[in-house]
């Protein structure tokens, strides 16, 4: 249970909101009605980050953390860009994008996990940690879908809200890229 909670806390950590910002970017075109696409995109992200988390935590791959951090910021900007180009339509390609970008985010989770994990319980703790990340992710996505739903109910032009939100995410992610480039 401890590692499960740790997984949740890691993804919902406001100190490092980059993973949440990615989920915000990813879910921009989604709504409760598109639950199948939501499930596919989030699962693809999970598959991607679970795989690379394991590879990074076992040190099979060990890219410099500066590059991983930069990569995470780039995935956020690219995801927003992708949705803007597609006019916030739910397109099949987003699932692949989510999976590939999940690989990059998993490298970030991996560096954290490799520090906290003990050699005698590495895999035993890996499963609840991953499930915790997944649970945190579902929580964040549900909150976002609820916000989109509420905006749709009270705003006569909900698409304008998504444009504005895209602008905010894009600005933050570009700022993040510039910050991380200067490391």
């Amino acid at each position: 249970m401890f590692y499960f909670n740790l997984g949740i806390r890691h993804i919902t950590d406001l100190e490092g909101y980059d993973h949440m910002l990615f989920l915000l970017a990813l879910t921009l075109p989604l709504s409760f009605g598109q639950w199948k696409a939501t499930l596919k995109w989030i699962t693809a992200f999970t598959v991607g980050h679970s795989l690379s988390l394991a590879l990074a935590a076992t040190e099979v791959v060990r890219p410099p953390s500066e590059w991983v951090e930069l990569g995470i910021a780039v995935t956020i900007a690219m995801t927003v860009g992708y949705h803007l180009i597609n006019g916030f339509k739910v397109v099949q390609g987003a699932m692949w994008l989510s999976g590939i970008f999940g690989l990059i985010h998993g490298l970030g989770f991996g560096s954290y996990y490799s520090f906290i994990a003990q050699s005698d319980s590495f895999w035993w703790a890996w499963i609840p940690f991953n499930i915790g990340i997944e649970a945190g992710q579902i929580l964040v996505v549900l909150v976002l879908l609820f916000v989109y739903w509420a905006v749709e109910k009270i705003w006569r032009n909900p698409k304008a809200f998504k444009w504005m939100l895209s602008g905010v995410i894009l600005t933050l992610s570009i700022q993040m890229i510039l910050d991380r480039l200067s490391l």
Partner: protein
Amino acid sequence: MKFLLVIWFWWAGAVAQDPAVHTKVRHEFYVSVTDFNVDIEKGKITGVVKTFPDDWERAMNALLQEKVMRYVQLDSNQRAALHGQYLEQHIQLNLNGEAMAVEYFGTSRGPDEVYLLFTAEYGDKELEELSGNWSIKHTLLADIYPSQENIVIFHYDGRKQTNSCRESNDYRLNFNF
């Protein structure tokens, strides 16, 4: 739409220029991992704290601030004394309400981490007398990072329990064996 674009550019401009608005250069995590082991063969508790070297150095520099010194200026004996002072202040161990003094033992360096070794004497108690409520207060680095989380793994008679000392639990933990 034009109005929204104007709002966005205004906001983007404000963010880009305001140094107070930052994007967290890295997803930092302030964490340490500590093993406590009830070692019957040695007749004492042995412990290891694993932390990041840069965080540790920052904590040491904070301690040295009053003396207007830097950690890098210290020789190995001075460093050991400082490590001991800090560790003994920041880790408190109790068994069934009885305090056990933590004593710094040494330091070891890994490629990306520093290990601080310590012991705590429990006298001539038998294993059965060491069961009960173990209470730990672990505030390592919490003085410099408010979001510091100190993970504790407690080993007792082939069993182990894991939890963490963090701000939300006032950096206190209880383990029952």
